[in-house]
Symmetry: D2
Subunit: 348 residues, 4 copies
């Protein structure tokens, strides 16, 4: 038996999305975003975020992140991000390529989160020699984070306030935004533009879609002036989908009737149970479990037992003999799998 | 009633592809191409082309074209293509952006086709002043062409021979390769590497998929040396799909059991009927109808009648008062629609 | 004896410039343009052009052209230029590289000159399909032209008016602007911003400097908003000179006391004499001689005689058996050399 | 009185270089490097380095560094450099722009120097997830360093050996190579290719030239295969000088008869005296004085006294109330100035 905790991008496609695709498949409609599903998506997103937004679907999160950063920073700018951010460690410098030389400036922080203090310190201590130095023009935050934690609206607001005060745009990598919102007690609006986010990469793929990501633009001046640059650059890096309506249809189904939050709730709930179960079995967790990821420090025997039980997951080495196992739940994870893994670990 | 002849990318998704997606949706599998469907795709493509190939799925034809050109030409190179080629007129310079400054060099030719004479003349008469001039390093052919015609294997072979003799790589834009193969009397192998094609953009989207395009590598030296550059650049422009298995699954279903050629046969057959019907009604055709596109020169009254009958299609102006209507059939076009359009035109 | 008519960039450095370099060599001063010579250059240029300007020295004309185009067009834009323009045929696509994918759109025209009609026709007949097509955002003119002719202020004004009306910026490649101004009966101001030029590449190298080119910004909005992009991009392509004061010193000496126009007058005068002498000897000229270049159609015997007399020059083939010889005079050409060449040709 | 210790790029041009320029100014010669001075330069460089080399003059050190890195690393590669390296902190990401997305990976080290241990640790601890992660493909060393220290041949050899073993190319930033060689007891050959350096940026500008930098290629395979990429990219970023012979003439005069080392000896000697004098006056030095830079930790009163004496120099703040003053000597610095500064400090 395989019990997949490798990543939520190993999950399948949820029935609501498949039903929407099947329905859309029967119809003709215009290409390149001039279709009815894409028009509905813009209205749906405005509804979700409680304000007018610009919506630009693309096929991958890397494309969404890179395009969003490219249109909110000059090519000679720099973007501060967490040292473990996906844009920094997992996109092979795509933001630099698509951003025509835009650079990333990693800053460390506990549990995958940046703090105003850490960002300020970075800004204040780096060399600044005018035209010779890259100016910092952007801040990219990830919510939920790569450590499975989430930012509160107060934390986001303080970081955005700092960024704006220092002339920086705020980008949110929302590949797992659904997991951040589910059970947060804050609305999508409060967790984005309400907290100062200017532009966002909003991902549905990990949450139950097949391939549906979108750049969502909040800032009024960007809505006024920046959309041609998004549309042009999206086209020029091959991310204007001819049958865009199928990406839009995925989003429409996933956002409709709260599917996205329900699916994320399920994943978050299983992660919580998994974390509690592992902790009860004496396993130390590297980060608090706040969304759909559990980071468990496993000694060799425990790790072997979990593997033997059929669990797949990624590990990183640690300073001691343990490994840090990243265990990711998704909309398609099953409680039985979680329990099986807990049992395997508890028995080790 | 809407009768859509605007483009084959306005069509839906064929049932075979939808069935494969539905099946794949139920499963977990690895991300980023390390999945079973992608492994099967490589075998399937080798089967279709009767030789080992490299296969790199992406979401759009623009991405496939641009990546294929970028990895077969140096950034300072130039690519000769038809003046009406998609890469030249419809991709907002994406091959230049993704190719780090690669330039395109359009050459005219009747019915959407290049000839060895025209290419030679271009090469022989352009200025060459060493490092100051862009060297021509590639030839990009489109089959079936933007004019709905197709190249014979002999024509392809002569162009490739010329290109190779002059140090140029040969790329094939196969966004409508299915239509070129269907009924051609030549195999996919004969129409590609057998005729000297080094690398290809193979599109399934227009032929019945949702979003499935692939770079297919034939040339032995590229298979040996060039795949890291494809993989890296694909990642860096955001075209490595996390759930790539769904792109592979589309291709597998579409290529399996000859679905692709059967669907293309249908489209080609309807276009042939449409062309014959219009000609019988006295309409002049701009190009021979060899695949799934009909270019009809419509006088204002006829054009108005066709529009009134609900037909959607693109037009371009001509030197006289007629418009050139591009009428595209697809796997999902219906005979009744073709007949309705013919009737409307005949009645005008 | 070598009689060099190959190019004005084969000439040496005029004494006034050398004297200024020798004087500057004795001093310390700040690097990267914060020096006194660079401050004086800005004032000197304002004097020459009779208005405030932005001045950005660089080492080559290719850099000046590429940077000027890059900061006045979006990366997705296109620039119309003459089919023989230096940016189109002699810079190995540098404007595209430095312009992050900016494309050039050549338009033909007699004697190296564009006309409003030809530009309009190009704009009106090219395909425009929205985001899929590169929009034309710039017009680049060369004065004096690659054919050695010059534009009148009326011609420049008409082209600029057309460009601005259609939303295009106007760039002037002034690698040989001195030759265009000398004897023109129009001032530098009238031949640039007075005729609608927004930004210019102003070259002193061909006219007697060692390596001194500058981007000169006229348009008010660019002066307000565009200079950071020039400064940043100049730095990022390695064109901010550490000892910029030596480039500025060259310009100051060359522009001072009308040296530039005097030196250009000399070159133009020799070209006029050369053209007249060749015509008198029965040689057909391809273009009117208006500045410092003569394009002579030489039959094989005449060509051989000129070569035998020690003359160096570039040729291009023609449809008949003659070659088109490009004969360039410069500030350092000698009347005796011109006469020797005329004699050799007359004797052939 | 101004006593300039701000930078060696604030110095003038040494008489030997000016004499060569004056001589070259009188002559015609071919453009774009096809001249006699450039041919002599290639021979002269081969003589200096005791082996055949490729030589490519450019106008700035940033251009030389960026081009050298761009042609020895794939665009998707990464280059390890010291955290204070010029390419990292002073070139506004030019290596990334010219390298089409090449990234820099800073590693800290005492006194401006990298060690094999620090580089190994960086390589071993960074995340590597295949195509998602930038691979480290290059190592860039600076000699003399930004801290005014120098590497021994043994240190360079150990770093190069590590780099080559791990598949990385070795680049040397030699903006102050003359200062590193002068008095080193090792030859230019021993300090470059003899110690494993594949390619070098060799600067004469700081050492007494006006604007003369060169990419020098050592590695046999690069000499065989890589020069077209250098020539093309140099052209495409506007760094092929039309009157290249004047850059070559500067180098020829500067390298001839050991001028470069004599001038560097002078600068190094003055720095040594300055360092000793400051130390005798009780000033703490941040780094050992091994070439032409002194880093002095000055308390506010001393700093004020030095300023009052007319000394210009850059400072950086430190954790305590002192500033770190960077005092740079050059070929044109005078002993009297050094003594004046020492006196001013000693009197404070």
């Amino acid at each position: 038996m395989e019990v997949n905790f490798a990543s939520d991008n190993n999950s399948g496609v949820c029935p609501e999305v498949m039903a929407a695709l099947a329905e859309e498949a029967e119809r003709f409609d215009a290409a390149y975003g001039l279709d009815q599903a894409s028009a509905r998506l813009e209205a749906k997103m405005a509804d979700v975020f409680e304000r007018p937004v610009g919506v630009f679907p693309v096929a991958t999160g890397t494309a969404a992140n890179s395009l969003a950063l490219a249109v909110t920073n000059p090519p000679w700018g720099g973007v501060v991000c967490h040292a473990d951010a996906h844009i920094q460690v997992d996109e092979c410098a795509a933001p630099t390529v698509i951003g025509s030389g835009l650079t990333l400036h990693p800053v460390a922080g506990a549990h995958g989160k940046l703090t105003p203090d850490a960002v300020s310190r970075h800004l204040d201590t780096r060399r600044d020699s005018g035209v010779h130095t890259v100016p910092i023009t952007g801040l990219s935050l990830t919510n939920s984070t790569e450590a499975g934690t989430r930012y509160t609206t107060a934390e986001l607001g303080a970081l955005s306030e700092l960024a704006h005060r220092r002339g920086m745009r705020v980008h949110l990598d929302g590949a797992r935004f659904a997991n951040a919102v589910a059970g947060a007690g804050s609305s999508p609006a409060e967790l984005t533009w309400g907290a100062g986010v200017d532009i966002m990469s909003f991902g549905a793929t990990k949450g139950g879609a097949l391939a549906a990501e979108a750049i969502v633009v909040f800032a009024d001046d960007l809505l006024d002036s920046g959309t041609e640059s998004i549309e042009r650059l999206r086209k020029r890096v091959g991310h204007l989908l001819s049958k865009q309506r199928f990406a839009s249809a995925q989003f429409n189904a996933w956002l409709g009737d709260g599917v996205w939050l329900g699916r994320a709730d399920h994943a978050n709930d299983l992660a919580r149970r998994l974390g509690e179960g592992l902790a009860d079995a004496g396993v130390e967790l590297a980060h608090p479990v706040e969304t759909n990821m559990v980071f468990a420090l496993l000694d060799p025997a425990t790790n072997a037992a979990a593997r033997a039980a059929g669990a797949t997951y990624y590990t990183e080495s640690t300073p001691d003999e343990r490994v840090e196992a990243r265990l990711v739940t998704s909309w398609s994870s099953r409680l039985a799998d979680v329990e099986a893994l807990i049992d395997a670990v508890a028995g080790a």
